[in-house]
Structure formats: C-alpha cells, structure tokens
Symmetry: C2
Subunit: 186 residues, 2 copies
C-alpha cells in the first residue's frame, strides 16, 4: 500500500497565550494551506535559541494549539547543543528547553522535540486502507538510497489527509521529496 | 554480524595540484588520525560555494589523493542549490560543480558528490567476517528510530579498519553516533 510523503522542516506550534506574548495583536494569517485539513503555514516566523546558538526563521503553523511545541531535526539539535527526545506531537514529556524569539518578546519553554515518524489517518482512511486497530507500521523506500524505516506511528484526527510525515533527516537520508510515494508494510 | 559506525561530516580530499593552488607551501599537518589506517583530518579547512551560497569550514582530509572530491550531505546540497549524485569515493562521473575556496585561491571543479553508504574492508577482514565475494549488504539499526538501510557497499583497500561510513543525514535519521554498533545482514 502506497502513501505519499510530506517533508516537515523545523517549525513551531504556539498556544494562544504564548502567541500573544510573542506577536501581541499581529494576525495569524495563512501563507499557504497544508495538506492536513484546516492546517496552514502562516506568514510569521520565529527564531529559536539554546546555548547561545540561534536558528532563524522557523515557520509558525496555524491554527494555534493548546500547547507550544518546537519541532526540529537531530541535525538542528546538534547546531543548538540540545538533545530533544523523539515524541509524538503534543507529548512534551522530557521535551528540551528552548528559547523562542518573536518580534515582541522572548519566551523559554520545555517544548522542543524531534517529531516521531507518523502517518495521518482518520476512521474513514483506516477502514478504506485496512488499518483498523493498527498502531504502527514499517515503510519501505525505493531509489538510490533505499531501505526500511520502522516505528512509523498512525496518528488519528477527525479530519485527515493520508500522508506520511518525515523530518528532513529521514527525508534527506533516503533522498525523498514532497509527494514521493513510499510503501507501507503491516 | 556487528560493525561500528563512523559518521562522515562534509569534507574534502584534494589532489596535490589543487592543494598547491589553494594552500601554496602551507603544510598538510595532522590534526587527528582517523580510524582508517594512515588517513587523517588535517588542521586545514576550506569553504565551498555554489549559486552564491557558502558553507564554511569543510575539513581537508589527508593524505592528498589523485583527485579532488567534495563530499556533502543531501541537507548540505539544498543549502547550496545543487544536486550532487550519490557516488562511491573516486567515481566523479556527473559530480556537481562546486567552488572550493582556500586562503590563496578559489577553484571550480566538477567534484561534489554525496558519498554512498559503505563499509571499509580488506582481504583479511573479508575472510574473517565471511564477506568474500560480497559487493553490498543491508544494515539493521536499532534504537528509537530503527530501520534498515540498503545499498551499503563494501569498499576495499589494502589497509582497512572494519567500519561503516554514513553521512550525517543517514546517521541523524537513525540517531546514530560514532562508535555505535549496527548489524550487517547478508
């Protein structure tokens, strides 16, 4: 069974409270819609800092959430000298401390993770694809640097677009780009 | 069968001729020896440039070789806006054009590749490990982001230390560090 690839570059989700601290009354406007329904890349960015090292221009995704979360790659984490854990979105247990720098303020939060490999599904997609009751899968990748990635978790939301999200380390290791097809192995 | 991991960050090998253009009579001195016998990281670095984008501080490895070669990751290649092919060391067919900037000169060469996944062996290691006649293997990786990488080529040299060389994309995708152990699957 094939699924198309979405490559997630480093980005942030903000709680409404943190958004107001960083951006005051600036509007969270859509730059472009993402494939996941109602999710979008906004016109805004923040910088992040740890141990005096800065990575600039992380896209703020919308809409705002109940929690603030910074998603980076292992490669990014070496630049910052931190060790964020691999976590599913919203699970910030043991997340690394990071400074988030906006136009009006800087905030420090234990909010930095490496997102786990995941595939977006909902009940309808699970039924259609034979994925009812499945927690995680393996995914086979073809091409010049082929292989198999494991611990790819299914992530449920009410509205979903069937897509595997990989961070830039996973995507670049396997020479994958947005909309490439990979194969799910149950 | 286990093999230990060596992570290759971006680096350059220089021909004697190109070395002289870039560094004139500066000496190629050892900063630290590498695990491959007689190979070393020198005290020298160069910058590389393509499409007006620069990556600074690539380590010059020694001793100098018969050819000039720049090895980068897919992640690096996006920064530079180039598409280097995946190649074994020394095979520069279709290598991407890159400017190499030293203290005395800049040179432009079709010399930039993404190194293939490879394991260093020699005749003695092949005999000891049961790898006689084997061209490529798969390698299994455990941990929190596990999986299997394929197209891992055996690379023969007279003197060799038994080690898998992975670029930073492969290593970071699987959370691997220097001296971690991974498993060869024939």
């Amino acid at each position: 069974m094939e699924v198309s690839v979405g490559v997630s570059n480093r980005h942030v989700h903000l709680s409404c409270e943190d958004y107001k601290i960083l951006f005051k009354d600036m509007k969270l406007e859509v730059r472009n819609m993402l494939k996941q329904p109602e999710q979008f890349a906004s016109t805004l960015t923040v910088d992040i800092e740890a141990n005096g090292k800065v990575i600039k221009g992380l896209r703020v995704l919308g809409p705002n959430r109940d929690y603030t979360q910074v998603e980076i790659s292992r490669t990014d984490s070496y630049k910052l000298g931190i060790e964020p854990p691999v976590r599913k979105s919203g699970d910030l247990l043991g997340a690394a401390k990071i400074k988030i720098i906006g136009p009006y303020a800087e905030i420090e939060r234990e909010a930095c993770i490496i997102a786990n490999r995941h595939i977006h599904v909902n009940e309808e997609i699970r039924k259609e694809k034979g994925l009812l009751g499945v927690n995680k899968v393996k995914v086979k990748i073809r091409g010049e640097k082929p292989g198999l990635i494991e611990n790819v978790y299914l992530k449920d939301s009410e509205k979903a677009y069937f897509e595997i999200h990989l961070d830039t380390d996973d995507a670049n290791a396997f020479l994958l780009k947005n909309n490439d097809k990979v194969e799910i192995i149950l």
